[in-house]
């Protein structure tokens, strides 16, 4: 009897090297792979669960300051360097890869109010409560040399904020007024005042580099153009804004952190109502910083948490907290979009991952593919109740949890009352005011 044997070409199934992936001939006939939605749903559910399992955002705590960390600055050219100033006037330079302090200097008497690194990365400026602005070299002094600033400018009033121009040798300070300084001069080249005597923050627009925004104590946010002699416009809100940050990729958007627990994203051309109101914090928001991609921002709050918001989302996608972290005063998003740095009251700087479940380091191509696929799956099934529940679940400290609940109840009560008032008054007498409009008092030209 003759036996016919199936013969296959080994090229079709043998790997060239053992590092290659096994060749798997596939048949994509849909009838052979039924229940695609159900199977993908299961995968999505598993991916969501695994994401929660792997969500370990806290990386390191940098301790060494002897007082609360008041301000921080990223290095312009190096990812591993961080500068931080504390409430006792001490300034520290950190190496983030080694998690250690590489340089300490007593920059000011009293608070260090602002630190900013020059765009070239060779020097940095500090402003302090002792009415001085100092310029320092980035390199630490050689052996035997004394730690001395390159320049010191003695101002007339206390400086509360500092920012540097993106390309030119110009920086801005704020205090009683907003000043624009030339690096070469000891007096400001321009001063802006507009009926207010106290500013808390000033920021240059990183894209349209001649524009500035500042937060004033009269609950207003004021816009300036460096080239003009007068400010541009200001918007007065119901409560004071603490800091402001421009979107680094979208020239006309900025976000301010407010005392009323919210953050507001404005389009600078239309100040009469914010684009988005970002709610979730349960106490005053003290600082905000955009991710370098301009897609998200991070906020630090007095409620001892850090939250990450999508730039157009009303609710945060992430909340970070630890037991020991106290009021978070300053926060920065690292320039490679991977990390978040927070400085808090209890003298520590903390290093977090920007994506809590992300695997750090180099990924193999297969890992990348898997990550991308699971990401898309989560996106696709995000509206399914179980997946949403798991993806949104975060553990919160008891106090914050209860406060959130309380706030919700209060808000609901207010809403109900307003509704009742409207119901029992003449139609049109109590107009419906949207959440966005509620917080803007007026726009001053």
């Amino acid at each position: 009897m003759k036996v016919k044997v199936l013969s296959r070409n080994p090229d079709d199934y043998v790997r060239e090297t053992k590092l290659d992936i096994q060749r798997v001939p596939r048949n994509y006939d849909p009838t052979l792979h039924p229940f695609e939605v159900n199977r993908e749903y299961t995968r999505a559910l598993n991916a969501t669960k695994l994401e929660r399992v792997f969500a370990k955002p806290f990386l390191a705590s940098l301790d060494g300051h002897k007082d609360g960390v008041n301000c921080m600055a990223k290095h312009a050219k190096s990812l591993s360097k961080l500068l931080s100033g504390s409430c006792d006037g001490e300034l520290k330079v950190w190496d983030l890869t080694k998690h250690e302090c590489v340089r300490t200097l007593q920059a000011h008497e009293g608070f260090v109010r602002g630190i900013v690194v020059r765009f070239c990365g060779t020097s940095f400026f500090t402003a302090g409560d002792d009415k001085t602005i100092k310029q320092w070299k980035m390199e630490s002094p050689g052996y035997g040399e004394e730690e001395e600033p390159l320049n010191t400018i003695l101002g007339k009033t206390v400086f509360t904020g500092l920012d540097h121009h993106q390309k030119d040798g110009v920086f801005a300070t704020c205090g009683q007024q907003v000043d624009i300084w030339d690096e070469q001069r000891s007096s400001p080249i321009r001063s802006f005042t507009w009926g207010v005597d106290s500013f808390s923050a000033v920021r240059f627009n990183p894209v349209e580099t001649e524009l500035l925004a500042s937060c004033a104590s009269d609950r207003s946010i004021v816009l300036y153009d460096m080239r003009e002699s007068a400010p541009l416009k200001k918007v007065i809100m119901t409560m004071r804004s603490n800091t402001v940050c421009w979107n680094p990729m979208e020239a006309y958007y900025f976000t301010c952190s407010n005392e009323d627990y919210n953050l507001y994203t404005y389009d600078m051309r239309f100040l009469d109502r914010p684009i988005t109101v970002h709610m979730d914090h349960v106490s005053a928001v003290l600082d905000v910083d955009y991710s370098p991609t301009g897609k998200e921002f991070v906020s630090a709050s007095f409620d001892k948490t850090i939250r990450i918001f999508p730039k157009d989302g009303g609710r945060s996608r992430e909340v970070y907290h630890t037991k020991r972290m106290q009021h978070v005063i300053c926060v920065k998003w690292s320039a490679d979009n991977k990390f978040i740095l927070s400085g808090s009251d209890e003298m520590n700087i903390r290093l977090w991952k920007a994506n809590a479940a992300e695997k750090l380091g180099v990924l193999t191509p297969r890992e990348k593919v898997a990550v991308n696929y699971s990401q898309k799956l989560k996106e696709k099934f995000q509206h399914h109740p179980q997946i949403r529940r798991i993806a949104h679940h975060r553990h919160l400290p008891k106090s914050i949890f209860h406060q959130t609940k309380e706030l919700r109840v209060m808000k609901e009560a207010r809403r109900r009352k307003e509704r009742n008032v409207r119901k029992h008054s003449r139609p049109g007498a109590v107009p419906v005011v949207s959440e966005k409009e509620k917080h803007v008092v007026t726009v001053v030209k």
């Binding site: 524009l211 003009e228 007068a230 006309y252 301009g294 593919v369 509206h383 030209k445």
Partner: protein, 789 residues
Amino acid sequence: MAKFSKKKVNRRKVEASGEGPEQVVRDPGEQHEGLNEADGHVSEEQEEDEEEEQEDEEEEEDGGGDKDERRRQKLLEAINALGGKRQKKLGERSEAAVLMSEFTINAEGEGERVDLSDLIGTVEKNRAVPAKTRKQLKNLQQSKRTVECPLSKQETERIQRDVSFQKAASEVSRWKGIIRQNQRAEQLVFPLNQEPAGPKPMERVVSGWKAQTPLEQEVFALLTANKQPVHDPILTPTEEASLRAMSLEEAKIRRAELQKARVLQSYYEAKARRERKIKSKKYHKVHNKAKRKEFLKQFDEMVKTDPATALEELDKMQTARMQERMSLKHQNSGKWARSKALLAKYDEDARKAMQQQLEVNKELTQKLVTSLNNEQEEEEEEEEEAGHPELMPDFVNDAERGLDSSNPWMRGKLSEEPTESERCGSLDLTEEASGVGGGTAEEEEEGEEEEEGEGKEEEALLREFDQRRKLRQVQEADTGPVLSVDDDEGMVEEDEAAAEEEEQLSEFTSLFQEMANSRRDVMAEQAEAAPDTSVQLEEGRRRICTVEDVELLSQEEVAPDEAPVQPQLPPATENMLSAPQKTGKNRKRKRGIELKEVLTTEAKVLRIPLAPTVEDTEESDGKLDQRGLIKEAFAGDDIISDFLRDKRNQEDAGKPKVVDLTLPGWGEWGGGGVKPSRNKRRRFRVKTAPPPPRKDQHLPTVIISEKRNSSISLHQVNSLPFPFESHTQFQSTVRSPMGRTWNTERMVKKITKPKVVTQLGAIIKPMAREELMKDASNNSSVDSLRRKH
């Protein structure tokens, strides 16, 4: 300003020098004016000057401001007026050198102020100045309104702020395009303006570098001598020349052509390889034969076109023939052939093989006939060949037939069988199509057959013998399973027997053909009389795949007159046939388990004694196919009927039930043994409306449960999520799978592309102004392209 004053100066000079030879310097603006006009100009200008002076005086009065000055002026005027004649201004005495400067610069007007009116005067002359401006200037001169008082400081600041805000806003708005584009982008890769990876030319990395050391100089000298690239364009001159020689388009076309040729070649190679690997001897035989024929054809042509090569070929063929004649290679005298000859008596294979050998021999030793002289002979020969393709009678192979009919290769035979099997087999579809006419066609075919048969008496004899043998087999089969089944509609049993039956089917059909031949004439007549019935008849005949049919046919043969036009089919066969009649042409010769057929009948216990079936299986021991095996394995459990029962139960459960609401004892006597009256019961019986039709109504193999499953509803989306506008929209996004199980690798990559990609360890800088430039240039280029098209 300077220009105008200079003109003035020139004119003054003309004035001073009176009718001078010619103006030394002329203002280019004035050159269009003719020389002869010069006098007129002068006079006009003098008048003008006077007027201007008056105006000057007036202006001075206005500008003076204090009253004393004015009074004094008035006084002076009054005194002047007393003189009666207006005093002319005396020219000041000055040095000639000053008057006549070699640089044509006059010092006369040095002390004078240049006024707006001076300038305006020339403006009116100058044609280069637009009329609108002239008008405006005139209006300005005539207007006597007072200037409005300036705004307050707050107001001015406010306006200033507003203006500068507008400016800033418009400036910022330029980013709108880029921002929107980035928001919509499927993927953004940060940092945005990455330099392309890879080695860069030396010039870009090191600037201002020169070959200094002797070695370097030597190397560079070599490079330049050999026309190697030293600087930025990295192509050698020859490369550049080649680039110029062929454009990109051309190169692409050429490459495509080459690719196509290569592909075709590879296809051809693959085909050749495949053909070479075919082990079937028959295939090669046929193939070679075809080749030979082809060659002969070509040879004929070659004789006409290229006699020299044709002669060579002829020589070759003749040598081959000679060799064959000399050798005993194909003459069945070898060892193998002798062994076969021994077997040939019993084994048909051996006989066939021997026959083939002889055939080869015959072919090879055939004398070549060229078309040159005797074409006719060739034709005749060919005809003969067609008539007698093989020497041996064909049906020597037929014995194999009974052995495995399941092998598709063995089914289609070259012998007389196919014509017969056609009638019951797949080919009768054509019959169906041809309808009534099919019968006559068949007859014709048969006639041909008969002719052939007459041609070969031996064959006919052998065939007869064969038929008898088959008949015997049929009778055996009939005595076996048929008897046991005949009384009822045991479809299942039939199925079980089908395997055996089918093997014998061909024999049955052939037998039937023989038997039916006698009746053929009668049938044809009937068909003519009533076409409808004939169709039915044909259908019936087509389905003699069952035992009953054969039986029936035999009955019919016994009493052809008694049998009415419509054959009396037993109910079982009718049942069985009903489904395929509906489905029409979908029938196949080999029947699988068709669920519809099977489902319509209840499974029944076998009534036949076990012995014959056992015998059957023993008989078909060697050829027990998989289907039979499976059937045997699952003989006990009847899944299909279980399923049907389940489905029926479900349907029953879903049906609304009649609710009886009668309460005994109300309005009637109650108590033990007293039943409520029928009238009352009828009154209180509530019938509910029938439920909507079940979804699985027309799906016999499916049970669809329409109950809401609480365990699943936990995972289901119960309201339409925000960005979607309709359920279908949402469902469509969920429905399409993304994984590698369902999509090709490339598709998966495309679908799962992340929205934001960042590079590890790269600083992402804020958006730079250059992006704006890029965008603008892109847009403009796109616009220009659009305009072009």
